[in-house]
Structure formats: structure tokens, C-alpha cells
């Protein structure tokens, strides 16, 4: 009954093109934000932060980034793990080179550095498309991991080859390092997530987003109506890599604290983020969140039910968990190839007419 457009008249084009055109939707969105900022920090504990919320938030940023490139601009990329590594190592080098500068700036700067690297690896997209481009970005993935493994300048010549996040503070509260508190790291990541989602929405709703989508849907027609394919594709690579770089920096500095590049940013990571946006929904900001939640929460949930609830041995549960996640992904894709975002859209359309069938 609440979910209605009737009576909610739009009298300007600004009103008509807002993100949540239905009043109920708008309030629901504000409520989610309020809970995330005002309630969760008080009830959060280390388990929830480390097992669920931090990975969810950080992967959501990576998924938004990849969704801009693949979902909006149609350029398939398998280099996400490599670009996250660029963000992480850029952040590490900046943190150790300029210890007095605030960590926030380091993370944002890491995003810009990753954007530049992304543009360089995006250049082949002007010549090659589809699967062939995916292979080219795969080369970026392997090259970047190799680079961070072999060139010891990147890990400051440490004997272990790892990078460790030094202790940094924001407003006198530890954000990185061994002595952090769950609520602080959570809030820090949450601010980045909200800002990323907001910027991504702004970019995709306007002229730039239309350029990307035009290239995705039909690149020849896009060029005929005046879209420069060079600049459209490269901006997509830059913006996408910017978000992926930020998520890599947060993943290293705030979440893990210590990173070995092959383990943390290997090819599995690229596939994980790609699965997130495919399951969540290509070309949808909400889908990025839904996909990240699905891929992060589902294993945790299964583990808790199988080990905690049913009392199975841990090793058996771990194997069964893989199988169940795999089967669920396939079922989902067969039932709704456009992902969770499409299910959400259908649910909303039904809800708008409820209780009438049409």
C-alpha cells in the first residue's frame, strides 16, 4: 500500500530523474543509511567486522568498479585482482614514504595511481573486443602480480616479500595496524563505500554513463552519433580502476594488514569480483552490492549452519560448502540470467501494482 507512484506528481525534470522516484523507496534508502551509520557501529564486534562486514564493503567497491567497466561499458576484464594489487602496493609505498600524511589521502591517491595503470592496460580495448580483450586483461593480471613479487622496491626490500600496513590514525583513532577496533575500521570503509556508490551513480546517470552504455550496446552506432570510442573506453577503464584501486588499498591496509601478492590478489580474486557482478546484475549499482553480499555472506552462512548448526567436521563442511555455492550460482544464473538486480526490479514492479496482478 505504501509502495505507490500514484499521487506523487513530478513537476520538474530534476524530480523525474531522481535515483529513487518512489517516496517509500527514498525513505527505505535513508533508513538503511541511518542504520549503517548510527546503529551498526554500536553493536559490531570483531567477528562480524572481519568475517562479514569489512569484506562485504570492500568487495562492494571493487564490484562497483568492475561493473562500470564490464556492466556499463561492456569491456570484459579479468585483471581486477592485479588492479587491486596496484592499489594496495601504491597505498603501501605512499604510507611508508609519507608517514605524516593522512591515510585517507593515501587511499585516494592509490585510487588515482591505479586509474593511470588501468588506462595503460585499457589501450588494447581500442583494437580488440570480447573474449580477446579478456585475455589481454588476463595478461595484465599475471604481469602485475609478477611485478610486485619480483621487484623488491615495491615491498621495501623486506625479507619475507610481504607488505605490512604500519599503524595510522584518523581523528586519533587507529584505522590500520594491529590495534584497531571493529567500529572504526567499519565506519572508515563505510564512508568510502557510500562515496563510491554515490559517485558511480552520478557518473552513470548522465552523459558519461550514456556514452559508456552506447559503446556497450552497439559501438558502431555510438560512433555514428558522435561518441569518441577512444575517450569513452579509456574513461571507463580509468574510473573503474580508480574504484578497484581504492578497494585494493582498503583490502590491504584496513582489512588484512599484511599481504603477500600472489595469495591476496591472484587470479581467483579477479574471478570472484566478476562472479559478484554477474550474479548481482551487470549495469546496476545495486547489483554490485547484492553480488558482493551474496558471495561474501553465503559461505559464512553455510559454514555456520553446517559446522555450528549440524555439527559436521570442518573439513567436510568446507568441501560441501564449495559444492553448494557452485550449485547455487548455476541455479541462479539459469533462473535469472540478469542477476539479483533484475529480481529486485521485478519484485518492485510487482509491488507497485500489488494487490492487483496487473
Amino acid at each position: 500500500m505504501l509502495y505507490r507512484e500514484a499521487g506523487d506528481f513530478k513537476t520538474s525534470y530534476v524530480d523525474d530523474s531522481q535515483t529513487f522516484p518512489i517516496k517509500f523507496d527514498r525513505w527505505r534508502y535513508y533508513a538503511v543509511l541511518a542504520v549503517a551509520f548510527l546503529v551498526v557501529p554500536f553493536v559490531i564486534n570483531d567477528y562480524w567486522a572481519n568475517a562479514v562486514l569489512l569484506p562485504f564493503l570492500i568487495y562492494a567497491i571493487a564490484a562497483i568498479g568492475l561493473n562500470i567497466l564490464t556492466g556499463y561499458c561492456g569491456q570484459v576484464s579479468l585483471g581486477t585482482g592485479g588492479f587491486m594489487a596496484v592499489g594496495a602496493y601504491a597505498c603501501y609505498k605512499l604510507m611508508t614514504a609519507f608517514p605524516d600524511v593522512n591515510i585517507t589521502f593515501h587511499i585516494i591517491a592509490a585510487g588515482f595511481i591505479t586509474a593511470a595503470v588501468g588506462v595503460v592496460f585499457g589501450l588494447p580495448s581500442l583494437r580488440i573486443k570480447g573474449f580477446y580483450l579478456a585475455v589481454a586483461t588476463l595478461a595484465a593480471q599475471f604481469f602485475l602480480v609478477w611485478l610486485f613479487n619480483r621487484v623488491s622496491w615495491f615491498y621495501n626490500y623486506s625479507a619475507s616479500g610481504q607488505i605490512n600496513a604500519p599503524e595510522r590514525q584518523l581523528f586519533g583513532v587507529n584505522i590500520t595496524g594491529p590495534n584497531t577496533e571493529a567500529w572504526a575500521t567499519y565506519l572508515f570503509c563505510l564512508v568510502f563505500v557510500v562515496a563510491s556508490a554515490w559517485i558511480a551513480r552520478n557518473l552513470t546517470r548522465g552523459a558519461l554513463g550514456r556514452r559508456w552504455m552506447a559503446i556497450r550496446d552497439m559501438d558502431i552506432a555510438a560512433e555514428i552519433i558522435g561518441v569518441n570510442p577512444l575517450s569513452a573506453k579509456l574513461t571507463a577503464f580509468a574510473v573503474s580502476s580508480f574504484f578497484v584501486g581504492i578497494s585494493g588499498a582498503l583490502f590491504f591496509a584496513v582489512y588484512l594488514g599484511a599481504v603477500e601478492v600472489g595469495e591476496a590478489f591472484g587470479i581467483q580474486k579477479s574471478f570472484l569480483v566478476l562472479f559478484m557482478i554477474i550474479i548481482g546484475g551487470l549495469g546496476s549499482i545495486f547489483g554490485s552490492f547484492a553480488g558482493a553480499a551474496f558471495m561474501v555472506l553465503l559461505p559464512v552462512l553455510l559454514k555456520n549452519t553446517l559446522v555450528g548448526g549440524l555439527g559436521w567436521p570442518t573439513d567436510l563442511a568446507a568441501h560441501i560448502e564449495f559444492m553448494i555455492v557452485g550449485i547455487l550460482i548455476m541455479t541462479f544464473l539459469i533462473a535469472e540470467p540478469h542477476g539479483l538486480a533484475q529480481l529486485w526490479r521485478l519484485a518492485k514492479e510487482k509491488l507497485r501494482l500489488w494487490p492487483f496482478p496487473y
Binding site: Y13, G206, A207, I224, I225
Partner: protein, 272 residues
Amino acid sequence: MLDAAEGYTTADGRKIGGVLMEMKNITLRFGGVVAIKDISFDIREGEIRAIIGPNGAGKSSMLNVISGFYNPQEGEVWFRGERRPPMKPYQVAQLGIARTFQNIALFEGMTVLDNVMTGRLTQMKTTLLDQAIWWGKAEREETENREKVEKIIDFLEIQSIRKTPVGRLPYGLKKRVELARALAAEPRLLLLDEPMAGMNVEEKEDMSRFILDVNDEFGTTIALIEHDMGVVMDLSDRVVVMDYGKKIGDGTPDEVRSNQDVIDAYLGVAHD
């Protein structure tokens, strides 16, 4: 022969201006195949110009030369009194030449409104940073362009499908949306590649009316390719006839109709 700067008056009393676009001795080859052979013609300000010919005559190739998709090996393209150097299609679009396609080339994943808004992209100039912030410049630009687009949506009577994804629309409406997208760019020259292909009589009548209205209301110069002879003869002011890559006729519909070469090559035996 008409003078370049001078116009003429059509049979129904419309004033036609000077030369807007001139093709001089265009030759286009694909390897050994000569698609267009030494063709010259002009398109005048405010006129509806048709290019006709049997299948494979090189009409679509000619349109692709005009829209910058192919660059001819020989010959010159003059637009608004200047010689146009070889260009990429998106640069040609920025000069003010818009087109539609023979097989619809809409962006299927976007709504009708977004599709028509893409026609305005050559006019939208805000920077990436402004768009990321959205409030202010980007929002203002979006609203200004939305107003222009809404006028075209009204004009083509597609208000009710504004927010429908293009993939769900029937064929006739898709053609109309494509025309809307081309019009949204406020082009100096509008190229229509078989706007009536695959339509029934009623849809053809609608489309013909829209083409005449566009020409009348916005003063847009139109060059079109069409196979329906009745439509071509009714709509156009002057007609170029092509066959096997060569020009075999050029003139008003009446002149073309009585041209013996055209009758032989294209219409076969004159019936009626």
C-alpha cells in the same frame, strides 16, 4: 544547371537555399570492387533529396561516405562551403550530420528516453569531475538537454513509451525512436537509410508525415534512401538515381521518371 549559391522554388512553393553538401567525383573501391564510380551531386539547404537505385547500386555506400564511415579513394566532399578532410564518424557527427540505419541500430539495453538523450551527446560538455559531483553543472546540463529532447518526443508522439526499454518495442516504433535520436542532435543534414523498410502502409504514412513535418518545422535538410517508389516520388524534391555504382539520373521526380536510362535500368517497363 542551377547556380551553387542560388536557390530554387519547389512545385509546392517551398524555398530551397544554396548548396549545403557537395560530392565531387567520388570513387569508392573495396579491393577490386568499385562500389561508387565518379559520382557528383549536391544537396541544398532545406531540401529533401532522395538517392534511389536497384539493390547493390551503391546507395548505402554513398550514405556511408557522407556520414564518414567510409573514406573515398578519389573525390572531394564539401560541406557548408568547406572541403571536408577525411574524418572519423564521430567527428562527422559533431559537424551536424546525423543518420538512421537500414537495420535499426538503437541501444537495446537503454530506455527510449536514454536513447534519444544519446543524440544530445555531441552537445554535452561537462567534465568528469562535474559529473561525479552532479549537483550544479551536470544536473543543469542534463535538465537543459532533457527539455530539448522532450520537445522531440512530443513531436514524434512517443511520450507514452518514454521509459520503456527499447528492446520491448515493436519494429515501427523502434524506427521512430531512431528518428528521434537523430533529430535530438539538431542536425544540419539528416540522413535516412530506408526509413520505410519493412513497414505496413499505415506506418509508412506516419513516417512520411514525420519526414515532411521535420523538414517543414525545423528546416532540416534531408537525404534519404528508399525503395518504395511511390513514397520517393511524393516526398522528395530532387532524386539521384544510381546503378552499378554510377549515376544515371538526377533531377526532379518528374524528370527522373521520364528519363529513359532510369526506366531501362530500374523501373523496367513503364507501367501506368
